[in-house]
């Protein structure tokens, strides 16, 4: 380990004059045989915003779930909040009583219930009354939502909301819960586990304003993110976890990204630069007149070897495009040409897309991408089954060999085929998902938030996988709200507004700032699709 340990601020501040907001000592957590957290100690002062970073699977969410009382830590742990030592084991209710409020990574919403039902879920268990009043709840929820100008109907089912709206609901719920506890005396600790993955940059301001207001009231914030720049920007100090062990805490001022990466990964990471723009060819994909739930009359073309980004604001419809082009959009219309084949979207099914060489890597890994309870091999095999026939059954030996090679190539950790997919960390889940599709040598790769919640090291690996796919001649479409990712990965970026493509950025023009400007719509004229393609060539 070549790490410069001097940089690290000692975590043990036992002689701190006043009790810190949160004091954690010696927290370990073991699942079965794997130790996920090892003797983690942590102090957060009142008024402090603390970042928590680490690779996928380094234990951040686990630590947070320990704080939430969801997991019991191994014996020997001590947790105290504002000097109040937690006696016995921490329960979810106890945590809330202590003033800890959470936005969990998976948002913790029930899609089939209404926004206002979901809003009340945390209050339920602690409720002192025995009854609830749905009407009053709906009213107060609506008031709250309006207060933040979200324009969400409190009586709508969460399933009818977009991912972004769902994130906003979860955040507003947490903030409301926090206010509640503030009303009981003192501001507590707000814990945000990757709250921004669903939010485009522009909408994150609201969240950070709220967090800042909270800290200035004397509360504390613990903020988990894989976006190191954002983390450096909004936090006072950053704690780094690696392999479940505390690597140290550094002040955000005067630290740069590279330092943190070194702490996280334990080595220097070569962040790749943009690859050269591929030469223009006849398009592989030609879509005309696409219409979906939020997409209106969009046409676009993708060339072989080209990585095209598509982005926009919440509700602009950019995140629907990959699904439309794969044939998974329901009630969609439009025409699609993939190579020689022509499709009418109204009658196209995903299987048609797959036969035409389209691979879709959905953004919602858990719901649309994988089966958590089955093994990595099972999940890898989904797309390979028809090709792995021997005699008249599936040749599992061959699948296994291929799978072993795939997870080695894609650096999936742990490199075991038989572990349950669900126990992998997010980054590794994503790599498995990509591996599953890449083994089919797709001609068209459609990605939706391919690095959502993925750590910086894994992100580079995923970029490499995508680039390798493009280099092999595939056309890539990457829908993402992550402007940095787009600027690093894409040869061309399309920006959508109100369901239509309004701008196209090429090569050197692609930058976070430019994307943000176009997304917000600083009065640029929409570019007709024909001229766009022409501009590329």
């Amino acid at each position: 380990m070549t790490l410069d340990d001097q940089q690290i601020v000692p975590e043990d501040r036992q002689d701190a004059p006043e009790p810190s907001m949160l004091r954690v000592r010696n927290v370990s957590k073991t699942f079965g045989e794997t130790r996920v957290l090892r003797e983690v100690s942590l102090d957060i002062a009142a008024g402090e915003t603390r970042g928590l970073v680490g690779e996928n699977g380094s234990g951040k969410s686990t630590l947070i779930k320990v704080l939430a009382g969801f997991y019991q830590p191994d014996p020997g742990a001590e947790i105290s909040v504002r000097g109040r030592q937690v006696a016995g084991s921490l329960t979810p209710l106890g945590a809330r009583d202590l003033g800890l409020t959470f936005v969990h990574q998976d948002l913790a919403l029930v899609p089939s219930l209404t926004v206002s039902d979901n809003m009340t879920v945390n209050a339920l268990a602690a409720s002192r009354s025995w009854r609830v009043s749905p009407k009053a709840e709906a009213r107060s929820t609506q008031k709250l939502l309006d207060e933040y100008g979200l324009g969400i109907d409190a009586r709508a089912a969460v399933s009818s909301l977009t991912q972004l709206e769902r994130a906003m609901v979860a955040i507003v719920r947490a903030i409301d819960g926090m206010r509640e506890s503030a009303a009981h005396g003192q501001a507590g600790l707000l814990v945000l586990d990757e709250p921004t993955v669903f939010l485009p940059k522009a909408d994150r301001g609201l969240l950070f304003d709220l967090a800042r207001r909270h800290t200035s009231d004397g509360g504390g914030v613990l903020f988990v993110s894989h976006d190191l720049e954002e983390c450096l920007e909004v936090t006072d100090s950053i704690t780094v976890l690696r392999d479940g062990r505390l690597r140290g805490t550094v002040p955000s001022k005067g630290t740069d990204r590279a330092d943190i990466i070194r702490l996280m990964v334990g080595k220097e990471l070569n962040l790749s630069s943009r690859r050269p723009t591929p030469p223009a060819h006849l398009p592989v994909v030609r879509a005309t007149g696409l219409n979906g739930t939020s997409v209106r009359d969009v046409s676009l073309e993708l060339g072989p070897g080209e990585i095209v980004g598509i982005t926009g604001l919440l509700g602009s419809g950019f995140d629907e495009l990959p699904y439309l082009i794969s044939g998974a959009g329901q009630g969609a219309t439009g025409r699609l040409a993939v190579g020689e084949r022509e499709f009418d979207l109204a009658s196209m099914r995903p299987v048609d897309g797959i036969r035409a060489g389209i691979a879709l890597v959905p953004g919602d890994r858990a719901r649309q991408g994988s089966v958590a309870s089955l093994s990595v091999l099972d999940n890898l095999s989904v797309q390979a089954l028809p090709t792995a026939r021997a005699w008249f059954g599936i040749d599992w030996r061959r699948l296994r060999t291929v799978g072993q090679r795939l997870i080695a190539t894609y650096d999936v950790r742990p490199q075991k085929l038989d572990v349950a997919y669900g126990t992998l960390s997010g980054g590794n889940q994503q790599k498995v998902l990509l591996a599953r599709w890449m083994q089919t040598n797709p001609g068209v790769i459609l990605l939706h938030e391919p690095t959502q919640g993925v750590d910086i090291g894994a992100r580079e690996q995923i970029f490499d996988i995508v680039r390798a796919g493009a280099d092999a001649g595939a056309a890539v479409l990457c829908a993402s709200a992550d402007q940095e990712q787009l600027s690093l990965l894409c040869d061309r970026v399309l920006v959508m507004r109100d369901g239509a493509i309004v701008a196209e950025l090429l090569g050197g023009d692609i930058s976070k700032a430019a994307i943000a400007r176009e997304s917000l719509g600083s009065a640029r004229q929409s570019v007709p699709p024909a001229s766009r393609r022409a501009a590329t060539s």
Binding site: P111, N122, A125, S129, V132, G151, S316
Partner: protein, 339 residues
């Protein structure tokens, strides 16, 4: 974004959606009404007679009590296949203690309720402490309860339950309808209130939809599921008392025949009033919808094979219709059910 959404809504949409939502909520009521009209036309005065409606309303209290109690664990996602076993234990306990051991009827009833609560606690304990899926554990305990009933009763039918109980259950009619009907309606009202207006009911709903989330929100998931199974057993216990009162007797086997109708009523009920959610009034409507059809057929003197045909057909068709209207306006997310 919301702006755009509102902008894009064609003016016709809301009306269409409203009709859809309405038919989704009250579709079964309409089918019921049609059924009543059809039978009235065919059979005229007999079907519309007070006596017929008294008989329709008065005859299904046991089923209604069972179904309404079952709603609670079902809301928490737990199938309870042992309710009919508990029904049998309860009615047998009443009859045995009252007739063979000479206990006063109130004591026998109290013991029956207690026995039912114990049975529910056993179900709850197996589910909560051993983590066995309730579908399979209650399948098992249902069989155990059946064994217990055979053992208790020595496989005999026991008659001669004190007429006092019958008086409370089927005597002293109000508007010509026996008290048991009002007990069933009362139970519906309670369950409706509990599910809609109490913290407990709301918690059960969350537990049923997402257990880890509920745990994270601080709900005592295990305790809630335990309670749910105890409550369904409690309701089955009351149903058992009503059953014993209705027939003045208890026999070891007949309680089993309520199992499928109970589940049918619960699922069919989940297509009315609050679509996709188990709800009490929907269940009540489902029960009386089914019995109206069957009674109508009986009055027609239809062959006995027509009854199961109607029962199954009505179930499938009304659920399909409600599903259909739901599909039209919402891109269905998850739905009721298991795992």
């Amino acid at each position: 974004m919301t702006d755009t959404a509102t902008k894009r809504t064609p003016s016709l949409r809301p009306t269409g959606a409203r009709v859809g939502a309405w038919s989704e909520k009250y579709g079964l009521l309409v089918i019921w009404a049609v059924l009543i009209v059809v039978f009235s036309v065919i059979e005229g005065p007999i079907f519309l007679s007070l006596a017929n409606w008294q008989s329709i309303l008065g005859s299904q209290s046991v089923l209604l009590l069972l179904a309404v109690g079952l709603l609670i664990p079902m809301t928490a996602g737990d199938y309870d296949l042992s309710v009919t076993g508990v029904l049998g234990i309860s009615s047998m306990t009443v009859a045995l203690l009252n007739v063979q051991f000479g206990w006063p009827i109130w004591a026998a009833v109290a013991a029956a309720i207690l026995a039912s609560l114990l049975a529910g606690a056993l179900n709850g304990a197996i589910v909560v402490f051993f983590g066995v899926d309730p579908f399979i554990s209650t399948l098992g305990t249902g069989s155990v309860f059946l064994g217990v009933i055979y053992w208790m009763s020595n496989s005999n039918t026991i008659t001669g339950v004190s007429p006092e109980l019958s008086a409370w259950v089927v005597g002293g009619k109000i508007l010509g309808i026996p008290p048991a009907f009002y007990y069933g309606v009362g139970a519906c009202a309670i369950v409706w209130f509990v599910l809609k207006y109490t913290v407990f009911g709301r918690q059960m709903l969350f537990v049923g939809r997402n257990k880890p989330l509920s745990r994270l929100a601080g709900m005592a998931v295990g305790r809630l599921r335990f309670l749910g199974l105890v409550i369904s057993a409690f309701a089955a216990g009351i149903a058992g008392v009503v059953y014993a009162g209705t027939t003045g007797s208890a026999d070891p086997t007949s309680s089993q025949s309520f199992l499928l109708p109970t589940f049918a009523a619960v699922f069919l009920g989940a297509t009315v009033i609050q679509n996709q959610r188990f709800n009490a009034w929907g269940t009540l409507i489902a029960v009386y919808f089914l019995v109206t059809g069957i009674t109508g057929l009986q009055l027609l003197g239809a062959d006995s094979f027509v009854q199961p045909l109607f029962f199954g057909g009505a179930l499938v068709v009304s659920v399909a219709l409600s599903q259909f209207s739901r599909r039209r306006d919402a891109a269905g997310s998850e739905r009721l059910g298991h795992g």
